[in-house]
Symmetry: none
Subunit: 193 residues, 4 copies
Amino acid sequence: MPKLGMEPIRRAALVKATIDEIGRAGSLDVTVSQIARRAGVSSALAHHYFGAKEQIFLAAMRHILTGYAAAVRAGLAGARAPRARLEAVIRASFQGGQFQGDVVSAWLNFYVAAQHSSPARRLLTVYQKRLRSNLLHDLRPLLGVRADEAAETLAALIDGLYIRAALGRDDPDGAASARRVLAALDNMIGAGA
Amino acid sequence: MPKLGMEPIRRAALVKATIDEIGRAGSLDVTVSQIARRAGVSSALAHHYFGAKEQIFLAAMRHILTGYAAAVRAGLAGARAPRARLEAVIRASFQGGQFQGDVVSAWLNFYVAAQHSSPARRLLTVYQKRLRSNLLHDLRPLLGVRADEAAETLAALIDGLYIRAALGRDDPDGAASARRVLAALDNMIGAGA
Amino acid sequence: MPKLGMEPIRRAALVKATIDEIGRAGSLDVTVSQIARRAGVSSALAHHYFGAKEQIFLAAMRHILTGYAAAVRAGLAGARAPRARLEAVIRASFQGGQFQGDVVSAWLNFYVAAQHSSPARRLLTVYQKRLRSNLLHDLRPLLGVRADEAAETLAALIDGLYIRAALGRDDPDGAASARRVLAALDNMIGAGA
Amino acid sequence: MPKLGMEPIRRAALVKATIDEIGRAGSLDVTVSQIARRAGVSSALAHHYFGAKEQIFLAAMRHILTGYAAAVRAGLAGARAPRARLEAVIRASFQGGQFQGDVVSAWLNFYVAAQHSSPARRLLTVYQKRLRSNLLHDLRPLLGVRADEAAETLAALIDGLYIRAALGRDDPDGAASARRVLAALDNMIGAGA
DNA sequence: AATGAATGAGGATTCATTCAT
DNA sequence: GATGAATGAATCCTCATTCAT
């Protein structure tokens, strides 16, 4: 019997290393060797498990999106009222796991990748649809027909705060960002009165 | 006899070609040869005029920022009241010259470049500062101490709408985007009442 | 409990898989992994049994030559007269086992391998010597001193028909090929009259 | 004005180097770097002019076929009678330029390449058709309906002599090979009487 | 002013081979 | 007996950049 069960370990390590490297480089101009070295394996092994470089990137993207989805689910677990649920969704975007240097940088780069990579675009579209649907679900009871516009605006605002966070040198301030989105949300609700 | 005065023409053509190519590729993964070919010159000439590839990119970035600055200036020319001036600044971001496929794509890519290129970051910072100062100047009379927060939020919203526009396949709808930012602005003003 | 006696089975499977893969690829550019996969084992096992890739190829070559030798022996079993024996030798080259897509393709590739691999060359030389000696043995009584020339020509003709068969897309027509060689043979005999 | 007109020179040198290297290696397992080094240029330049490795090989193949076609044309120039023309065609195959170590080795390898490369197959098909048509044109007056069979056999014989020449260590004996084909031809003619 | 020629450096990818289990 | 794990070495190919003309 050979050494068994390394595959999931290596894959996870490589995905983690990919996000770290993208964060460090601030771009997708990262070599497979750099990723592999950081993961402590040879570049050949990275290819062995992922096939091609793009697959590594996509796996990293999927990893981030999965983490985000889990954060949203967790946040929604205890929330019932629309306003509370919206706050949960918004806060999830700016929480620990998601809103830190490397991950935010990776996000921004995935946005770029989505412009020329169909699979990347598909993944991003899934995220966008889910966010939109989450927001709409609880905006409707509060805003009625204005919910659609509001969802678009809030989603754009979240993305905008991400992009700006990516430019900051230090780890971004998630609490402040969440506060801003919530303020915009409350403005919308208030304006409807 | 040598052709005189070609330099500005060539430079402009190369800058234009750079933006076009970035738009086409959806990333900065564009070769000097591709840019040169599109500009109708040899890649050697591109180097002759710009020195290195990064300089070409920076020139393109500068070109876009200059165009944006001009649009803002033009918009502000006829506006006096704070609300009118804010609308002018916001509309400038989503007007013809700025808010079209290639240019938006270039923008997004420059955001990425700013993460690892100091000169690019500097250029982007200039833009951000100017936008912030423009917004603040007219938000203060309307919102007082809440102006800072409002400026941050509006700026992020503008960026967010750009990023989302970059993902759309067709030329983005500038009017709709501007409307959203203005709605957010009016919500802020209304909430302050 | 360890399976006993697997070795010959695995070796045979790998040899068979090698010939099939060479036929499929139309060249020796076949990886050990491909061969192993087709044989239903790991590439490590292929190395375990054969040591190195070249050994696998040589074993495949030996397998083909052995099969050919057996076909010749079988053909000669019932033949007595020189002309009949020659026909048997010639037909053996174009019979079922030898003259089919994969095998012919492998043959051609072994000719190439013989140009840079000494062991391959040695194997091929054995085949050539044996064919030559077979032909000569029965050409001498019929053609006397012209037998040497005739043997060379017939051997070359056989090889030439193989090479041309290798290029055809479908399984080659062994009967037609044999007929051509026999016609050439009869022309030689006839010319001697 | 840059240094001009190097392209055809480099291309020719690379084609020549390719044939030499294939001859030396006895296979197509030749790296672009080896070819380039022998041609006295960088491997990058080889790619610059030919794009990809396969194109270099195809150019070499084309070069050989062109040389062969020229030799045939030259041989046919002075020949009128069918038998004389056939002799010219046959001799052309075994003359200086065509029938020497490297070139013959390259030939054999091109036969292999034709098994998996469509463009290579196409080139080889052109050669085969031309040879067949050349032979048929002059065999018909001599052999009538038997001309087709004869052409096939002669073509196969020529190929067979090539393949065997490729295995010999020294430069092959073209005169002897030609003599053999001519003898086969005369046997055919004689048998028809 | 402009470009064809040329290359060094670097990166993705493949693969035979080894090894521990 | 058998294999998953792992890698070093190679190879194709790309590209920014330089230079002579």
